[in-house]
C-alpha cells in the first residue's frame, strides 16, 4: 500500500502538485491519467524519492519515503525517459544494477523478461533506439521480481507487438497480486485491467477511486467517455 498525504510540490512559483491525497491499493492496478503537464511523472518521482516534495508525506508499506531508501528494493520502476550511462553496453547496465543490488537476482534473469534483449546486449546505450531503451527500462524493473511496479507511460515508445507483450505481463503481475501503478494516455488500452483510477488535472485530483464507480458516477460505459465527461 502506498499512501500519499497532503502532497505539495512546486518548482519555483509553479505549483505542480496541489494537496494530493490518495492511496494505492496493494494487489490492484491503479491507472494514473491526466493531460500533459498535469503532474503525473512528478507524482511518480515523488514516490520514488527522485523528486523531493515541498510538503506532505508519502508512505510505502507504512514507511515514510523521506527518511528511507530501502523501500525501493520492493519497487520496479519504468521511467518515462530511461536514463543510463550512455557509454555502457546494455549488458554492463544489467551487471551494474545487479551489482548495486548485491546480486540478488540471476544475471540472465532480466535479459528476456518481459522483452528479449539478447541481440542488444553488446550495443552501447547511446546507439539504442527509443523503443529498445524503453524495453531495457522495463526489463530492469522486472529483474528483481518486485512487489510493486511503477510504470510511467511504459508503452509510449513501443511497437504494437511489444506493447501487447508488456500489457500481458502487467496482466500476469496483476494475477500474482502485485501492486501496480501505471500512467498512460491510451485509455482504451488500460481500461480492461484498471482497478482504480487516479485522474489528475493541473496538479489536483479530479477523480480518485474504482473504475466501476467512475463509470456509474458519470453514467458512461467507457473510461474514455467518463474522463471526457469529467473534463467538461
Amino acid at each position: 500500500m502506498i499512501t500519499i498525504d497532503k502532497l505539495q510540490k512546486s518548482y519555483g512559483k509553479l505549483q505542480v502538485l496541489d494537496n494530493v491525497n490518495t492511496s494505492i491499493r496493494t494487489g490492484k492496478v491503479t491507472v494514473l491519467i491526466g493531460p500533459n503537464g498535469s503532474g503525473k511523472s512528478t507524482l511518480i518521482k515523488c514516490i520514488l524519492g527522485l523528486v523531493k516534495p515541498s510538503s506532505g508525506d508519502i508512505k510505502v508499506n507504512d514507511v515514510s519515503v523521506s527518511s528511507n531508501y530501502n523501500y525501493r528494493k520492493d519497487i520496479g520502476y519504468v521511467p518515462q525517459y530511461g536514463h543510463f550511462p550512455e557509454n555502457l553496453l546494455v549488458k554492463d547496465v544489467f551487471n551494474l544494477v545487479l551489482n548495486l543490488r548485491n546480486g540478488t537476482g540471476h544475471p540472465s534473469y532480466g535479459i528476456d523478461k518481459p522483452f528479449d534483449l539478447t541481440t542488444e546486449l553488446k550495443k552501447k546505450i547511446y546507439s539504442l533506439s527509443g523503443g529498445t531503451r524503453q524495453k531495457l527500462s522495463a526489463n530492469l524493473a522486472f529483474m528483481f521480481n518486485p512487489q510493486i511496479y511503477i510504470c510511467d507511460e511504459p508503452t509510449a515508445g513501443l511497437d504494437p507487438i511489444a506493447a501487447r507483450t508488456f500489457k500481458q505481463y502487467i496482466q500476469q503481475m496483476r494475477e500474482e497480486d502485485k501492486t501496480i501503478l501505471l500512467s498512460s494516455h491510451v485509455l482504451s488500452e488500460v481500461e480492461h485491467f484498471a482497478d482504480d483510477i487516479i485522474f489528475i488535472c493541473e496538479g489536483r485530483l479530479k477523480y480518485n477511486g474504482p473504475l466501476t464507480e467512475l463509470k456509474i458516477q458519470t453514467n458512461e460505459s467507457t473510461l474514455e467517455d467518463s474522463i471526457a465527461k469529467l473534463m467538461e
Partner: protein
C-alpha cells in the same frame, strides 16, 4: 553502506581511467615537473616552480574536471537513485571515486620525476611532502566546490561558467582585492584582517604556507612580514594545515546536504 560506497567509488575510478583526459592531465603534470627539474637545475627552484602549478593549475583542472564529470554522470546518478541506494552513498561514492583518481594522478605525476633524482632532494623532503599535501587538499576542495556548483545548477553550461568564475575569483581576483585592501588601509593595523582574509581562501592559504618554507621573499613587503611572524609558531602552522582540511570538509558537507534535497 560502506560496501555500496566502495562499489560506486570503484565504478567511478574504472570509468575515469577510461577517459582520455585524466591520462592527459597526468602526462602534462608529469612533463611539467620533469621540465622544472631539468631546466632549473636546482631542486629548490624546481619546487618553487611546482608551487605555482599546484596553486593555479591543480585547482583549475580539478574544478573543471569535476564539474564536467558530475554533469556527465547524471544518468548514472539517476539510475542509482531508482535503486535501493541512499543519496548519501551515491554522493560519497562519486566524490571519492573522483578524489582518488585525481589525487593519485597528482601524487604520481609529481613523485615520478622526483624519484629519478632521489639524492638531489635530500634536505627538501619536507617541502615536497608539504607540496603534495597541499596539492591533494586543493584537489579535494575544488572537487567538492565543483559538486556544489553543479548540484545547484541544472544547466551544464551555466555550471561550468560558474565553476570557472569561482576558480578565477579565488586564484586571481582575490589577490587583487587583498592588495587593494592593503593599499587603501595602509595606515591601519592590518595584521588580523590579513590573516582572516588569507584563511578565507584555500589557494591563498596554501600559497603562503608553502612559500614560507621555500622562498619568503616571494611574499613581498608588509604582508610577507606579517605572515612570517604569524607562522613562526607551531600553533599557527598546525592551524593552517587543519584549515586546509576544513576547506575540504565544509564544501563536501554542504554539497552533500544540497544533493540530498534536489530533484531528478
Amino acid at each position: 553502506m560502506f560496501k555500496l560506497i566502495n562499489k560506486i567509488t570503484f565504478y567511478g575510478i574504472k570509468d575515469l581511467l577510461r577517459s582520455r583526459w585524466i591520462i592527459v592531465y597526468f602526462i602534462v603534470l608529469c612533463m611539467i615537473t620533469e621540465g622544472m627539474f631539468r631546466f632549473s637545475g636546482h631542486s629548490l627552484k624546481a619546487l618553487s616552480g611546482m608551487v605555482s602549478v599546484t596553486i593555479f593549475l591543480v585547482p583549475l583542472i580539478s574544478i573543471i574536471f569535476a564539474t564536467i564529470y558530475y554533469y556527465n554522470s547524471r544518468n548514472f546518478i539517476e539510475l542509482m537513485l531508482t535503486q535501493p541506494i541512499s543519496r548519501k552513498s551515491v554522493y560519497i561514492g562519486l566524490v571519492s571515486g573522483l578524489s582518488f583518481s585525481l589525487s593519485l594522478c597528482f601524487i604520481f605525476a609529481i613523485s615520478i620525476p622526483v624519484l629519478w633524482r632521489f639524492s638531489m632532494l635530500s634536505g627538501y623532503w619536507n617541502i615536497l611532502f608539504l607540496l603534495i599535501f597541499i596539492g591533494v587538499m586543493l584537489t579535494l576542495t575544488f572537487i567538492c566546490l565543483a559538486f556544489w556548483v553543479s548540484i545547484s545548477n541544472e544547466d551544464k553550461g551555466r555550471g561550468l561558467g560558474i565553476s570557472l568564475l569561482l576558480w578565477l575569483t579565488m586564484a586571481v581576483v582575490y589577490d587583487g582585492l587583498v592588495l587593494m585592501v592593503v593599499i587603501l588601509f595602509q595606515d591601519y593595523p592590518l595584521e588580523k584582517p590579513m590573516i582572516v582574509l588569507m584563511f578565507s581562501n584555500p589557494i591563498d592559504l596554501a600559497r603562503v604556507l608553502i612559500l614560507l618554507k621555500i622562498d619568503v621573499s616571494a611574499l613581498l613587503g608588509y604582508t610577507g612580514a606579517v605572515f612570517k611572524s604569524f607562522f613562526s609558531s607551531n600553533f599557527a602552522q598546525i592551524t593552517s594545515l587543519l584549515s586546509l582540511v576544513a576547506w575540504v570538509l565544509f564544501p563536501f558537507y554542504f554539497s552533500m546536504k544540497k544533493f540530498k534535497k534536489i530533484d531528478f
